[in-house]
């Protein structure tokens, strides 16, 4: 008898993980709005705009980290160009936000400011329809998915693996960055998109809008975790980790690794794009530097620090690294990159399973003589 999908979804986490997810949802959807909107600013429990924006941003990063964990931790495919898909999602939604400015820009024109500045008389063809929210939402998912699919198809078909694949993804995002830096490309050159005013007609800086965007980011993260967890415990997930560990064996028992890799690769790109689309209205800017190679490497560091192949680890890693970043870049800006590099080396050398692996081994040691094959070593923790 087949188990219905909802039941399978319910079983994909244990009771404690569901409790934690519920707690997190209650915090993001109920506590945060109350603490930000209803409590007066001088109240000790009041959450500032700064806090909401920072955490909202990190929630988006956490989605990217989970997407990265799917391909790297479970599929063994290390992408050092995932910032590209994040930025493309951001740009696709940014086009809509630029059109929402309407005539409130510096030049009071129907066209976005940068086009007036370039002396363009009408919208380029790829901007057609960008005033529609639905169209923009569609572009957010479809464009990165198409690029990921085509790129992945040729890379995986040619059996490009390991460090070679990583280097090609780096080149891809770097090339895209150079392309987006050009004014003629039609995406605002090196300034990118900014000065957004509205989203669906609501003021983008209004506290209520911020709270909604924050809640949507939290929901998207929960959805991403559910989807990823259901995927990795399915038969598909077992095949994916099998490809990671012994690809030739998988091939000789009759699976096509190409399609298995391509599926998770494209899905991962779409999740990144969704995160990018949620990120841009919260931080209020998107420019080509989001496609820089360093940004993409940072994504890999979040995952390595949190714990590859654990799903929750990358979320924790994204929070640790980005909270540290926001503190460092204010207090000792010149040391941030040294700290980041050290963190990566330490995580690689001493924490092969990241902080989640550390937690599992500590707990196993506390229980003394616990099962040696703890979930952390299997790479499929909750």
């Amino acid at each position: 008898m087949r188990t219905p999908l909802l039941v399978r979804l319910g079983r994909s986490f244990d009771a404690r993980s569901w409790q934690l997810l519920g707690l997190f949802a209650a915090f993001a959807l109920i506590a945060v709005p109350i603490m930000h909107l209803l409590l007066p600013p001088e109240h000790p429990l009041h959450l500032s705009t700064w806090f909401i924006t920072l955490i909202g941003k990190i929630l988006c990063y956490a989605i990217v980290a989970v997407a990265m964990d799917l391909i790297w931790g479970y599929g063994g495919i290390l992408s050092l160009g995932h910032g590209l898909f994040f930025a493309l999602g951001g740009y696709a939604f940014g086009m809509y936000l630029m059109r929402q400015i309407g005539r409130d820009g510096s030049y009071q024109s129907d066209l976005p400011d940068f086009m007036v500045f370039l002396d363009w008389q009408e919208l380029p063809w790829f901007w057609v329809g960008s005033d529609s929210f639905v169209w923009a939402a569609l572009l957010v998912l479809v464009v990165p998915a198409l690029i990921a699919f085509v790129f992945g198809y040729f890379a995986f078909r040619s059996r490009i693996k390991g460090v070679y694949f990583s280097i090609i993804t780096q080149a891809l995002t770097y090339a895209a960055m150079l392309l987006f830096f050009r004014n003629e490309t039609g995406f605002g050159g090196n300034n990118g998109f900014t000065d957004f005013k509205r989203i669906l007609g609501y003021s983008i800086t209004a506290p209520e809008t911020r709270v909604v965007l924050f809640a949507l980011s939290a929901l998207a993260l929960i959805g991403t975790l559910l989807l990823a967890r259901t995927l990795v415990i399915s038969k598909y997930g077992r095949i994916l980790t099998a490809i990671r560990d012994a690809e030739s064996r998988v091939m000789f028992i009759g699976y096509h690794p190409l399609w298995y890799k391509l599926f998770v690769w494209t899905l991962s790109a779409m999740l990144c794009a969704l995160a990018g689309a949620l990120y841009v209205p919260q931080v209020g800017i998107i420019n080509p530097s989001e496609m820089s190679v360093a940004n993409s490497i940072e994504i890999a560091i979040w995952v390595a620090v949190g714990g590859r192949g654990t799903l929750i680890g990358p979320v924790i890693g994204a929070f640790i690294v980005n909270l540290a970043k926001s503190w460092f870049t204010v207090s000792f800006p010149e040391y941030w990159l040294f700290f980041l590099g050290t963190l990566f080396i330490v995580a690689t050398l001493y924490l092969p399973q990241g902080v989640v692996g550390l937690w599992f081994s500590l707990r196993a040691r506390l229980r003394r003589g616990g099962d040696k094959g703890a979930p952390a070593t299997r790479g499929v923790g909750a």
Binding site: R238, S248, W259
Partner: protein, 283 residues
């Protein structure tokens, strides 16, 4: 988005020269991708040549394996045994020559997963199993089923599949280890697990590269018994260095040397062959 796992055979039934020659079974119509054993031969290798940077790993190798046969291949290191398996399973494309599975399926045109799907199973020299999966999961993944992405996303084990896995676990004597990680098994157990995975694929032809390497004498003997019980229902090609094991299997023996067949016959016959003795330096 999924590739169709089985391509049509290169020759439609009407274009097959043997189709109405009188030698083929009368009234036998093939479905695309179906294995035609009407000549009682499951595998034809004809004039296979494979060169790597000028080195001829296989040199006009010709070999036929009968349906249900248990064939042993021996030969010194570098004789081309593993390359031959690579050619049959689609890992290496021959520079020249043809490989036919049954009468109609040209293996040189199919990819590795396609060849696996039509019924060729392969055991590697070094046991290759999924070390981070349990023994049970290893068998589950190998099981013959629709192996396309979309199916795998929704796949659930049914009772029949569970029974088949349990049966195989008994056969390879790993029932007590079903929930252990495969990486924790002993070397001999890993070899058995890989053989079990092969059986879950329900292949028609099994290629076994040094299946008893690293096994104890007792394990080796049990492996021999298992292979003998499989012959007839399946065709087996065993590459082996262990002469006692080859003797136990007792079938026809082919000696490879420098990429082609040096001698063929029973073990006693090839061991008496002067050229074979010379190649093996009196072994």
């Amino acid at each position: 988005m999924n590739a169709v796992a089985v391509q049509s055979p290169p020759l439609p039934a009407e274009d097959n020269p043997d189709w109405d020659s009188g030698t083929a079974e009368l009234g036998h119509v093939l479905k695309p991708g179906e294995l035609d054993l009407s000549h009682k031969v499951i595998l034809y290798l004809e004039d296979i040549t494979v060169s790597f940077d000028g080195f001829r790993a296989l040199n006009k190798l010709s070999l036929t394996i009968d349906a249900g046969e248990l064939r042993c291949i021996i030969g010194p290191n570098g004789a081309g045994k593993t390359t031959m398996m690579d050619v049959i399973t689609g890992k290496t494309r021959p520079d020249e020559g043809t490989v036919f599975f049954g009468q109609t399926i040209d293996l040189t045109r199919l990819s590795e997963p396609e060849i696996a799907h039509i019924g060729v199973g392969r055991k590697f020299q070094k046991p290759t199993i999924f070390e981070n999966h349990t023994v049970f999961e290893n068998l589950e993944l190998a099981m013959k089923t629709d192996k396309r992405v979309w199916r795998s996303l929704w796949a659930q084990l049914d009772a029949a599949a569970g029974d088949r896995i349990a049966e195989t676990l008994q056969l390879i004597r790993l029932a007590a280890h079903a929930d252990r990680l495969a990486g924790l098994l002993s070397h001999g157990q890993k070899q058995w697990l890989e053989i079990g995975m092969l059986l879950m694929q329900e292949p028609k032809l099994l290629l076994l590269d040094e299946p008893v390497a690293g096994m104890t004498d007792e394990e080796t003997e049990r492996t021999g018994e298992l292979f003998l019980s499989l012959a007839g229902k399946h065709s087996l090609v065993v590459v082996e260095h262990d002469m006692a094991f080859v003797k136990q299997l007792g079938g026809k023996v082919t000696v490879l040397h420098e990429g082609s067949v040096l001698a063929e016959g029973s073990l006693a016959e090839v061991q008496a062959d002067a050229r074979v003795i010379e190649v093996y330096l009196g072994r």
